[in-house]
């Protein structure tokens, strides 16, 4: 276990020294904030247009009050704008996170083989299983940090913009994290057979198949549709703890299967 942690720590260190990865993470966070600010300004425009309309109506009618219908309309528009901001925030963060996850996991082992650093590491008393699990764990930690950053960003953003968070959005970072781990495990497995870029594209495409039980592909290829809370946030539907637990179990089961396949492949792979 100690060796796995050592490899994981080294993997995190290596990832933090990769400018491309840092650039990707910063770009996805920046893009998320950009979309949110755009949506937020749209929300302000709605408020302003309502206020202007109301003032025009009031001066025409000679009153100083908003009608019940207008008030409801205004509230609905504001709620719609608020949920759209959150949904967009989640969607962009999730897409950016997926790109980061694909980059991390598809290159974790492949880059060590390409550079030749794996030869030194495996000449030490480190088994191939420990190496692969350490590399995966390192990626998991970085993705957890990314999910945490995204959660903090949305909380901070909601607070500064006086947004009421949708009940579904609180699960979004966790589901996004699960989805990225699934994507990562598949990308890591595929990268042991092919070039990391092809592995990443295939993992992404395979994961966007809309399989559901009893389709057997659901258990061997990831199906992300249930992890995407975009539409639930928009529609205001609820996601209970049981649903989240089931999805988490599915993700854990899928990651375990992919890692088993990856271990089988890695143990027989020629590392030169």
């Amino acid at each position: 276990m100690k060796t796995i942690f050592l490899i994981a720590t080294d993997s995190i260190r290596a990832l933090l020294h990769q400018r491309l990865l840092l650039g990707l993470m910063l770009a996805s966070l920046a893009l998320t904030i950009f979309f949110s600010i755009t949506m937020s300004s749209a929300r302000k425009n709605i408020t302003k247009s309502f206020t202007d309309d109301q003032m025009a109506t009031n001066s025409f009618m000679g009153t100083n009050q908003m009608s019940e219908v207008d008030r409801r309309k205004f509230r609905e528009s504001m709620e719609n704008a608020s949920t759209t901001i959150q949904a967009m925030f989640y969607q962009v963060a999730s897409f950016g996170g997926s790109i980061v996850a694909l980059f991390i996991f598809s290159t974790a082992v492949a880059s060590e083989i390409r550079k030749g650093t794996i030869r030194l590491t495996l000449s030490k008393p480190v088994s191939r299983t420990q190496f692969l699990l350490g590399k995966y764990l390192g990626g998991v930690v970085v993705m957890a940090a990314f999910a945490l950053l995204a959660s903090l960003a949305i909380l901070l953003f909601a607070q500064t913009q006086n947004l009421e968070l949708s009940p579904v959005i609180k699960w979004a970072p966790w589901l996004m994290f699960c989805r990225q781990l699934m994507l990562g495990s598949l990308a890591m497995l595929l990268s042991l057979f092919m070039h990391p870029i092809i592995a990443s594209v295939l993992a992404f495409v395979a994961g966007n198949g809309f399989y559901s039980p009893p389709n057997p592909l659901y258990f061997v290829l990831p199906s992300y549709k249930d992890f995407n809370v975009f539409f639930q946030v928009l529609q205001g539907s609820l996601l209970n703890l049981k649903d989240v637990a089931c999805l988490s179990l599915y993700a854990a089961d899928f990651v375990a299967i992919m890692l088993l396949f990856a271990l089988w492949r890695f143990r027989t792979k020629e590392l030169v």
Partner: protein, 308 residues
């Protein structure tokens, strides 16, 4: 106990469906005893690095088996007794020198109490004290080679496998490296060196093996390899039937002032010529056996025509 043992070890790249299968190592039987410095020689593409990769379990043999300290190379635990320096070394270059050694020492299971002292000792031994705080990516080739050597010795292994260890070192570095090897030998460590620098191998190795096209051509001590290798027989007269017999075998005959010199480049020919001389009742005036340098042995081995 042997430090390294291979049994009919073979490796073919691209076997199976691949029609361009290339045999890199063929039926290699090798034994390296504990406590010896063993030189592993061969021209480029002879299969030296492939053999080392097989010993490290980085690649799988097509057939045969390899053992380190009589345990299969696939056992991770046996790597606790092993230190390895690859040919073209790639390090985790985002570390500083000291941090890198600390990381490898931790992987080798060196206790955290001992680690700082051991790292400092090796940095001093390899003249890297000033570079200890420098990022490895900024190291020169020679410094990378030195820190690579340091990481191989971190856990004081019983066996060191060094692939072209002095390729990037200057003459001073090579001399220091040679001194370290001799010190390791004095302490009973086993060193397996693959090198192109024959003079270096000659000066430190107890035994050498010469590999060509994946086949083990020769193995032994320098004395064993050079003894009787090139023999010259001086005789007073050469009868015509003997001359004819000598012409059929690849020996060189020189006639100077009525005295003939028959040069036999290897042991097999020496025995044949000696037998012919006896059969024809020719008196041998003098026999000269030439001791060969490792370079001569090496070139004689790799340029010798294949025996049918």
């Amino acid at each position: 106990m042997t430090a390294i043992r291979t049994e009919n070890l073979s490796k073919t790249y691209g076997h199976g469906w691949n029609r361009d299968a290339t045999p890199a190592v063929r039926m290699l039987n090798l034994e390296v005893k504990e406590g010896e410095i063993f030189g592993f020689l061969g021209p480029n593409g002879a299969g030296k690095t492939t053999t080392i990769h097989l010993l490290l379990n980085l690649i799988r043999p097509t057939s045969g088996a390899a053992y380190l300290f009589d345990r299969p190379v696939a056992e991770t635990e046996v790597h606790r007794r092993l230190g390895y320096l690859p040919e073209s070394i790639s390090l985790h270059d985002y570390y500083r020198g000291k941090g890198l050694l600390d990381f490898y020492a931790a992987l080798c299971g060196v206790s955290p109490d001992v680690r700082p002292a051991r790292v400092a000792e090796l940095l001093k031994l390899l003249n890297l004290e000033d570079a200890a705080g420098k990022v490895v990516s900024k190291y020169s080739k020679g410094m990378v080679q030195r820190i690579g050597f340091a990481q191989a010795m971190l856990h004081d292994p019983d066996l060191l496998i060094l692939d072209e260890p002095t390729a990037s070192l200057d003459p001073v570095g090579r001399k220091e490296f040679r001194d370290i090897l001799l010190e390791l030998k004095r302490r009973g460590k086993t060193v397996f060196i693959s090198s192109h620098i024959l003079s270096e191998v000659e000066s430190v190795c107890d035994r050498v093996a010469i590999l060509q096209n994946g086949e083990l051509k020769r193995v032994g001590t320098l004395q064993e390899l050079s003894a009787g290798r090139s023999t010259r027989f001086m005789v007073k007269s050469l009868p015509a039937p003997l001359m004819d017999a000598l012409a059929t075998i690849a020996v060189q005959v020189t006639l100077v002032q009525g005295q003939a010199t028959i040069s036999c480049p290897d042991e097999a020919l020496r025995q044949t010529v000696e037998q012919l001389l006896r059969q024809h009742g020719v008196e041998i005036v003098r026999t000269e056996t030439e001791t060969q340098s490792l370079e001569e042995i090496f070139f004689a081995t790799i340029t010798a025509p294949p025996r049918l």
